[in-house]
């Protein structure tokens, strides 16, 4: 298990233990991070699981694939370190990762 910390737009922090191999989106949904709507269920088809990683964590996780990069252009207020949480797979080196969650994208 890997500890992840979701920081919501209002500053509320939700910590959770995420299993290796699951997506950060799934970890957020399981932890009750309601702003992660994840409407398409993780198919990189809706852009509603948008999150923003701190620069240092953004650099440490695998870069977005083309389909995610395309989708990120269309989320509400994309940032340079934006990711779709459904496309970020939890791995051991993410222990302690902070994930900033913008307001719901729905």
């Amino acid at each position: 298990m890997v500890k992840l910390k979701f920081v919501q737009a209002n500053g509320t922090e939700i910590e959770t233990d995420a299993a290796l191999g699951m997506s950060v989106m799934q970890a957020a949904v399981n932890a009750g991070v309601d702003e992660i709507a994840a409407e398409c269920g993780g198919a990189c088809a809706c852009g509603t699981c948008h999150c923003v990683l701190p620069q240092e964590w953004f650099e440490r996780v695998a870069a977005p694939q083309d389909d995610e990069a395309d989708m990120l252009e269309f989320v509400i207020e994309p940032q340079p370190t934006s990711r779709l949480s459904c496309q970020v797979v939890v791995s051991e080196d993410m222990h302690g990762m902070v994930i900033n969650v913008p307001d719901s994208q729905v």
Binding site: V29, G32, D34, A37, A38, E39, C40, G41, G42, A43, C44, A45, C46, G47, D67, D70, M71, E73, F74, V75, I76, S104, Q105, V106
Partner: protein
């Protein structure tokens, strides 16, 4: 001898009982240990959220099964489902973004996704507000209206038409064509439905050709003009351009009318929730989300298994056809607390009214915006709204859900 519990379920989507309340039947189907087999459609019906979600997200489950059946079989199958001998429909409706998979689906979806992103859709708000205001200005003089026919039916055609580049005066034709084509997707389609769907597709095609010729001469800032650019740069064939334009005009058309009707009906059936929304208009976003869950306007889609698979505790061979009953999954007690209660503040509300997986509804933001503008405006303009007469009757069939008419009276603010 024990009776099979499934045999006790009376599943007749064309019946008036089902139209009045499909949810009792869905609940009985959900209570079964394994999926329900609908013999006349040779389809395994999935009603539990976990099963519906798993199949919608499974990349081996496809909208069509042509990739793994032989050409001859494909023709036989097309014939078996009565999708044959309708050249226009076969060419422009049976093959499109919705029916494609893999690389083709990704390419077609990418071409139009930008136009339906939240930021692009938000630009439509003033136009939607203008249109709604004008329509209500005419209607509010009447004490009583059929909200479906006199109001809701006029909205989506104008709005989607405007996105695509169809002149306002042609919007009524869009509604007609859309309904004629969509009704043929019902699993229980008949010969008359077939002839009407083919006729509508042909008329629609010929109409689009004229419009395309105009845009080629004088491009505008509309989607049709952009699709021409994609076609001319080789990213889209002419057939794909036509089928994409048709799909966009049809996909969110009848379903938006239906959910506008069922959404208002829900507010009128749950006056405490309507008042709650009036008292706190910030709940509009969750209220709209709940309207889609409570009466999902497109309650049924299908997938084919392309591999042997286990679904809902039962093994199925490749080629099995599954019915994804989104309308049933969205009332699953294992996912939603008090699922049969309409709750305008429900959070989280991760339902599947817009589908799931790669085919997730492209037009969801536009549909939500339509609803947001309309219900906000109604709540501001009218202090009271009430049902008139008997409970409204809902459409029959499995693939659509919405009231045939919704007679209401209202009192201006």
């Amino acid at each position: 001898m024990l009776t099979d519990p499934a045999s006790r379920i009376s599943f007749d989507p064309q019946s008036t009982g089902f139209a009045a309340d499909p949810y009792a039947t869905y609940a009985a189907m959900r209570a079964l240990d394994t999926p329900y087999f609908w013999e006349s459609a040779n389809t395994w019906m999935l009603t539990k959220m976990a099963d519906v979600e798993a199949v919608a997200l499974d990349k081996t489950m496809l909208r069509n099964n042509e990739d793994f059946i032989e050409d001859g079989d494909q023709k036989a199958q097309q014939r078996a489902i009565n999708f044959h001998d309708m050249p226009y429909h076969e060419r422009y409706v049976q093959v499109n973004l919705l029916e494609s998979e893999g690389a083709t689906h990704a390419r077609l979806r990418k071409v139009v996704f930008r136009e339906f992103s939240p930021a692009m859709i938000a630009r439509q708000r003033p136009a939607i507000q203008d249109f709604v205001d004008t329509l209500l200005e005419e209607l509010c003089e009447q004490d009583e209206v059929d909200f479906v026919a006199e109001f809701a039916a006029h909205v989506p055609g104008h709005i989607i038409g405007r996105v695509l580049g169809v002149p306002d005066e042609d919007a009524p034709m869009l509604r007609h064509w859309s309904e004629e084509v969509v009704r043929f997707f019902d699993p229980e389609r008949g010969a008359e439905d077939k002839a009407r769907a083919e006729c509508a597709t042909k008329e629609f095609y010929e109409y689009l050709l004229v419009l395309l010729a105009e845009r080629e001469k004088a491009p505008k800032e509309d989607l049709l003009s952009k699709l021409i650019v994609y076609r001319d740069s080789g990213q889209l064939s002419q057939d794909e351009l036509i089928s994409t334009a048709m799909l966009i005009l049809m996909a969110g058309h009848g379903s938006t009318i239906d959910v506008l009707g069922s959404g208002l009906h829900a507010l009128l059936r749950f006056p405490d929730q309507h008042q709650r929304l009036r008292d706190d208009p910030n709940l509009m976003k969750t209220a709209v989300q709940e309207m889609f869950r409570y009466e999902s306007p497109l309650p049924y889609f299908h997938r084919f298994a392309t591999e042997d698979t286990e679904v809902g505790g039962k093994l199925f061979p490749a080629g099995t056809r599954f019915g994804l009953l989104y309308g049933a999954a969205n009332r699953d007690l294992n996912r939603f607390e008090r699922p049969d209660v309409f709750d305008v503040g429900r959070t989280p509300n991760r339902h599947m009214a817009f589908g799931g997986g790669g085919h997730f509804c492209l037009g969801n933001h536009l549909a939500r915006l339509d609803m947001d503008v309309i219900f906000s405006t109604l709540n501001t303009r009218f202090t009271e709204m009430e049902l008139v007469g008997a409970e409204p009757k809902y459409k029959s069939g499995l693939s659509v859900r919405g009231p045939k008419e919704l007679r209401i009276c209202w009192k201006r603010a």
